[in-house]
Amino acid sequence: MIKLAEKVVTWARTKSPWIIHFNTGACNACDIEIVAALTPRYDVERFGVVIKGTPRHADVLIASGPLTKQQNDRLVRIYEQMPAPKFVVAVGTCACSGGVFHDCYGVLGGINSAIPVSAYIPGCPASPEAIIDGVVKLLSSLDPKEEKAAK
C-alpha cells in the first residue's frame, strides 16, 4: 500500500513539478529567461511545470543569482518551508558559483553556500533551452523507471 502511494506521489512530482522561483541577488537576466521559458516559444508548461507562489506547495526551488548576504537567511527560510522531498536548481553561472560577482563584498558565493543543490544550469544567462533541459534532466533522474533504465 505504501509502495503504491509512493509511486503515485513520485509520478505526480515528476509529471507535474510545482516550482518556486527565488532571486537571490541576480541581475535578472536568468529570471527573465526563466519566465521566457513559460511563454509560447519555449512553453515549459507542456512538461507539467507549474510555478507556485509559496514554498509550502513547491517541489522544486529554482534559484538564480549569486547569494548576497541579505538574501542568505531568506533563502534558507524558504528552503526549510518546502516539504520533503525537495530539489534545488541553480540557474545561471552566478547561482552555481557566484559567477562574475564571486569576489564582491556583498556576495557569499553560489547558492550552494547556503543550501544543497540538486542541479546546476550554467550560462550567463542560462538560455530558456538550457533551463528546460536542466529541469527535464532533473525530473527524469527522479523517475524510478528512468533510473532503472539508466542502470
Binding site: 518556486i20 535578472n28 527573465i32 511563454t39 507562489g53 548576497t68 541579505q70 569576489d103 564582491c104
Partner: protein, 404 residues
C-alpha cells in the same frame, strides 16, 4: 478598521527582483509607504576598482540583465572620454542600433509584465512572443540574447553584415504592425483603460521635485530625454520624437512606452539605412587617465548616470553608477498616496523597476503605532488586486477588442 502594516516581499513570483515594501493601510486605502532597498547589493563599484577596464566592463554589463547594454555603454563612454578616444562613426551607429533594440525588448517585456500584474496574462504571452523576434535579432548580431558584450574600449566589438542589416529591417516591419495593434488595444479597449487610468497618479510638479526620470516622468509631461538633451553615441544624427503624455498615471506610462516602441523602429531603420562605412573601433591604451568623466544614457527606464575617475593605471580609481530606478523609487510612495491596496502591483510595475540596477533595495513601511500587523505575500496581493478590480467591472475576458 484600524491601521495595518503589510510587508510585501522579498520573495514573490510576480516581480522577478527581490525588493520589499511596507505599506500602512487604513481599511483598503494606503496611508504611507516606505521602501527598503539593498537586497541585491553586491558591491560592484568596489569590485571595479580591483579590475582592469575591460574586466570592469564585463562586470558592469551584468549589473542588470535587461539593460545590460545601457550600463556597458554608459561606462565605456566615460572611459573613452577620459582616454580622449574618438569612436568611429560606424562603431557609434552599431552601439545605437543595439541600444534601441534593447529598448524594444525592454518595453515589450514591460508590456507583458504589466499585463500579468493586472490579470491579463494573454498580453504577457503575446508581447513576449513578439519580444522573441527582438531577442533573435540580438542573438544574431551579438551572439547572446542578453549581456551582448557588444562594446569594447574604443568602439564596437562586432560589425553588422549586409545580411544582418536586411534581417533587422524585416523584423522592424513585423514588430511595427504588432505594436500598432497593441496601441489600438491600449487606446480603445475600455477594460484596459478603466484598469490603468487614474491609478498611480503623479503630478508634473511632484515628478520634477522627486526626481523621476524616463517614461515615468514623461507620462507626467516632464519633457526630458537624455538622447535629445545630452546626445551620446549616434543620437545627434537620428531624427526622433520624444514621447510625452499628460495623463500623469499608469495609463500614460503605458502610452509613452508603446509610443517609444514606434519611435525606436523608425530610429533603427534610419540607423541601418544610413550606416556609415569605416572601422568600428579605434585601438585603445591599457592605461587610462588621469581624469574624470560623467556619462549619461537614456536607458529604457530613464536616465542612467555613470561617473568614472581614472588615475593613469589600468584600473579605475572610482566608478559610480546611478541607475534610473533609484531615481523613480522615491516617486512611488507619492503615487500610492490615497491609492488602494489593490493598485500596488501595477503602480510599482509601472515604473518598470529594475532593482538590480538600483542595487536591489527593499522598501520598508512605517507603521504609525509601531506595530506590525498582518503579512501578505506578493502573489496573494496580486490575486487580491485582480479580484478587487473584477468586482469593479474590470474583466479581461469580456474585452471588446480580442487580442490576437
Amino acid at each position: 478598521m484600524g491601521k495595518v502594516t503589510i510587508p510585501i516581499g522579498p520573495q514573490h513570483p510576480a516581480l522577478k527582483e527581490p525588493e520589499s515594501f511596507a505599506v500602512t493601510l487604513d481599511g483598503e486605502k494606503i496611508v504611507s509607504m516606505v521602501a527598503n532597498l539593498g537586497y541585491n547589493h553586491r558591491g560592484v563599484e568596489k569590485a571595479c576598482e580591483g579590475r582592469t577596464y575591460t574586466q570592469a566592463l564585463y562586470l558592469i554589463e551584468r549589473i542588470c540583465g535587461i539593460c545590460s547594454h545601457t550600463h556597458s555603454t554608459c561606462f565605456i563612454q566615460a572611459v573613452e572620454e577620459i582616454a580622449a578616444l574618438e569612436v568611429p562613426k560606424r562603431g557609434l551607429y552599431i552601439r545605437t542600433i543595439v541600444a534601441e533594440l534593447e529598448r524594444m525588448h525592454s518595453h515589450l517585456l514591460w508590456l507583458g509584465v504589466a499585463g500579468h500584474e493586472i490579470g491579463f496574462d494573454t498580453l504577457l504571452m503575446y508581447s513576449w512572443r513578439d519580444r522573441e523576434a527582438v531577442m533573435d535579432l540580438l542573438a544574431l548580431l551579438t551572439g547572446n540574447r542578453v549581456h551582448y558584450g557588444m562594446n569594447v574600449l574604443g568602439g564596437s566589438k562586432r560589425d553588422i553584415s549586409p545580411e544582418q542589416a536586411k534581417q533587422i529591417l524585416k523584423v522592424m516591419d513585423v514588430l511595427e504592425e504588432r505594436t500598432k495593434y497593441y496601441i489600438q488595444v491600449a487606446t480603445e479597449e475600455v477594460t484596459l483603460i478603466k484598469r490603468l487610468a487614474k491609478v498611480g497618479t503623479l503630478s508634473h510638479d511632484d515628478a520634477v521635485k522627486l526626481g523621476a526620470v524616463g517614461p515615468t516622468a514623461r507620462a507626467s509631461n516632464v519633457d526630458r530625454d537624455t538622447r535629445r538633451d545630452d546626445p551620446y553615441a549616434a543620437y545627434a544624427e537620428v531624427p526622433f520624437k520624444v514621447i510625452t503624455d499628460g495623463h500623469n498615471d499608469v495609463y500614460g506610462r503605458t502610452l509613452v512606452r508603446v509610443g517609444e516602441l514606434m519611435e525606436s523602429y523608425k530610429m533603427v531603420r534610419h540607423l541601418v539605412k544610413n550606416l556609415p562605412e569605416g572601422p568600428i573601433a579605434v585601438k585603445a591604451p591599457r592605461k587610462v587617465g588621469p581624469g574624470e568623466a560623467v556619462s549619461r544614457y537614456e536607458a529604457p527606464r530613464g536616465e542612467d548616470v555613470h561617473y568614472v575617475k581614472a588615475n593613469g593605471t589600468e584600473k579605475p580609481e572610482r566608478v559610480k553608477v546611478r541607475a534610473p530606478t533609484l531615481a523613480n523609487v522615491q516617486a512611488v510612495a507619492k503615487m500610492l498616496e490615497n491609492g488602494y491596496l489593490a493598485d500596488i502591483p501595477i503602480v510599482i510595475a509601472a515604473i518598470d523597476p529594475c532593482f538590480s540596477c538600483t542595487d536591489r533595495t527593499t522598501f520598508a513601511v512605517k507603521n504609525p503605532d509601531g506595530k506590525a500587523a498582518g503579512f501578505i505575500d506578493w502573489k496573494s496581493l496580486r490575486e487580491y488586486s485582480i479580484k478587487w478590480h473584477k468586482n469593479n467591472g474590470v474583466d479581461f475576458s469580456k474585452m471588446r477588442i480580442k487580442i490576437k
